[in-house]
Subunit: 477 residues, 2 copies
């Protein structure tokens, strides 16, 4: 049998040709065809049932499986009516970036193990820091898989910063007092998962009531902190949202920052998609205070149009990350100058060069063009809301302030909320079965409706008009 | 200015051509040239100092930067004398896989959001489960970035399994007793980072003394558990190593499994690179008991030759993952049948289709060819040790049992250990400065020597003979 390298060299020209073919097909297909295949059907079951291959399968057989199974059964996130999540189409240049990263297979953990990977990650962190409003000199950050891990690391950095070095050694048993974390009742559920993981428990996340615009009620927040202090608990962290998941609402970050300072707490802001809105002159007002936060979650795989995985935790003071995650290992060389080994900024000791695709995207697009596109998406969201209000069969559920539009079909006849909930709840599945649109249900003030995330640079007003037509047809049939 | 999509379509043919060019250059370069550029030199500083680009840079300018900076300043992990870590060259087919994954940009969190991505991840988990010795029906797992995160999730699953649902809600404050984790004094430092993150603290990791073969001393382990119980602490987890980082040693997994059962503890085994040795008939004996572990860390980016990031946590009973990480979100659809949403198996709620590159690798290579190559690497390690012993200037520091060889230059004259430590400690940097080899120092019983990880399918005996010559020249000059 041939050694691995010989097999590879033989197949290599076919691989490149095949990649080009897939790429061209994808480009042609974009925006047509079913947005989303459904169900556990036969071909997918065949994939799951396959046993560990003993022999080598031919490149040709493998490519046939990619063409017949992988591509057709993928959800088409680049479709103009894929609106279920803030998951835009990936920029082509990032596909190049990921291919080159894989080829180079750098471990971007230690500066000596990947001098160039470290430099590229440092510069994209600096660029993202400047987008969200941090100064260039002292801010830092680390690339992670996504917002969930960024929020989780943020809770760890907050804990370490408030409680000191003892907490690294003794854990949450320090002083044997309950640590407390505060956030809006509308916060992303990853915060609860993170609280469970870092061992403070979901019950020590205090969901503060929000106002009708889904913003943390700051009086309630202060009251909750006072109550916890009086009960001998240790408040550590306030988590604000710059773009809640349901409606894309923005907490009053100036007020949260003041409360954090007054009470000596850490302010973390989940700006996974919201942070990038700062590139637009139409950004929600509250975002001007984003740089007041001690740490910020910012996902390049959202409005920077970079493919998964590309998340990021940014911190105002880089030293806080080193304090939390830095450690010494016996066989590891240290960076020179010290403090540049990215392993000391987060949890991963083996880390890909995922910074490359972000670097390429930011150079290829540039801040201005990003800002222009994000402005277009913000305007599109307001236009879509106007369009909805101008019809007799639809209504908005809330006035949005970012790229998320929540609305429902209400029909012309007077229906009860229960009837409307039932109808609207079924619309997403019908649209997906027909392959027309992928949109998620949402519940606001007990009204079930539809939630459209406008994050795709291929979606325009005409597509949204079509969406309303599809919904009309769907309800009527 | 042009919209993003128009820029992309214009540049698209050039992108594919460019990727092909990079690829061909890489293939030609493999095994030649400097294995590792060093230092914070001018071109790298230029990258770090660049400000956030305002305008769009041309594809041509960007490609020039890739050619002049990114590729030449990368550490050549595919070089036959890159021996510093278990970081093999990436299989070409995985480059294709990552490119296609990026293109499709699937979020493999919920089965309805990526039916095909979920299926592919499920089947590679099953295949890896069968490699490490788990039964196909009840085992489960989740792909993560690497071994560090796998170990971290394992500690969380162990805690949840031993302490029950209360720990998710109340955190480590349950019963206000210290939880305890046991491992060899030679365990990977990621375990300490994980203990800090999950809030039990590094002091609650108990490093058990090891024997001369770097295996946990089981009597000491039982003694430590008894002591902790008598002090009203809660033992939860034993962490065994199937391949320690320094010398690639294997704990007595049968004995650890017995102690775990007797004391009702969770047994986790870090088999990040060691697990794949089961594909070879030369696998260390202890590995036949790997399937006894409740959970196992297994990194496809190690001996499956998949590029970063590709780590995996495997568990004997899939339900344990769901118990630990499953939760309900208001806007999320649930899988049908339930229990297939990968978001409920780990921490990420946005997850790439990294399973694709693993799936392609395992199909393209197949279990037999993997086994043959791993057998070759194991034999090569023993041959290298024999070669070292046959010389008058080198000696091994310990007899290895896997793919790691620890040795030192001792010269012909009688030198003190202090002199030899000094000389051997300087060899790695000299070899890297000359671009000849990338090898790490290691310290065993206070002797500083060199550690060669034989994980590259392009490394053969001749390369290792060259390495000894390079070291001779280096010491003499």
């Amino acid at each position: 049998m041939m050694p691995i390298d010989t097999i590879q060299k033989k197949d290599f020209p076919d691989l490149v040709k095949y990649l080009e073919k897939c790429w061209r097909e994808q480009v042609e297909k974009r925006g047509t065809g079913a947005v989303s295949p459904l169900g556990l059907n036969r071909p997918i079951k065949d994939i799951i049932d396959e046993q560990l291959p003993e022999g080598s399968q031919s490149l040709n057989d493998i490519c046939v499986q990619i063409e017949r199974l992988v591509i057709p059964y993928s959800v088409q996130t680049s479709h103009p009516l894929f609106l279920a999540y803030v998951t835009p189409p990936a920029l082509d240049i990032c596909v190049l970036g990921e291919a080159i990263s894989s080829m180079l297979n750098q471990n971007v953990s230690f500066v000596n193990l990947s001098p160039i990977g470290t430099a590229i990650e440092e510069v994209v962190i600096k660029w993202m820091g400047s987008i969200i409003g941090y100064g260039a000199t002292s801010c830092g950050g680390v690339l992670v898989t996504g917002g969930s891990v960024a929020n989780q690391l943020a809770l760890a950095v907050a804990r370490r910063s408030i409680l000191g070095q003892e907490v690294t050694k003794k854990g949450n048993y320090v002083e044997m007092k309950h640590q407390r974390v505060y956030c809006s009742e509308h916060i992303h559920r990853s915060v609860y998962k993170a609280a469970a993981l870092i061992g403070i428990g979901t019950e020590n996340v205090s969901p503060v009531p929000a106002n009708h615009r889904h913003q943390i009620n700051v009086e309630d927040l202060q009251r909750q902190i006072d109550k916890d202090k009086s009960e001998n608990k240790i408040p550590t962290t306030i988590i604000g949202a710059a773009g809640t998941r349901a409606i894309g609402a923005f907490d009053d970050l100036e007020a949260l920052s003041k409360i954090a300072k007054d009470n000596q707490l850490w302010l973390h802001v989940d700006a996974a998609f919201g942070g990038a809105l700062r590139l637009s002159w139409l950004a929600p007002n509250s975002l001007q205070y984003l740089g007041y936060a001690d740490s910020v979650t910012f996902d390049p795989h959202k409005l920077l149009f970079v493919p998964f995985d590309a998340g990021c935790l940014l911190v105002q003071d880089k030293q806080r990350l080193l304090d939390t995650f830095g450690s010494e290992g016996e066989y590891l060389e240290r960076s020179d100058p010290p403090g540049r080994d990215i392993a000391d900024f987060g949890m991963d000791l083996g880390r890909s060069l995922k910074a490359l695709k972000i670097w390429l995207a930011m150079k290829y697009i540039g801040a201005k063009a990003y800002g222009r596109e994000i402005t277009r998406l913000l305007k599109l969201a307001r236009q879509f809301e106007s369009l909805i209000k101008s019809t007799s069969e639809f209504e908005t559920l809330i006035d949005g302030e970012s790229i998320i539009v929540c609305f429902r079909w209400k029909g012309e006849a007077k229906s009860t909320d229960e009837e409307l909930n039932n109808i609207n709840g079924q619309i997403p599945l019908h649209l997906r079965r027909k392959g027309l649109a992928f949109i998620n249900p949402v519940s606001i003030n007990n009204k079930i409706g539809l939630r459209a995330c406008l994050s795709n640079f291929r979606t325009d007003k005409q597509h949204l008009e079509e969406l309303l037509d599809y919904i009309r047809e769907c309800v009527e049939s």
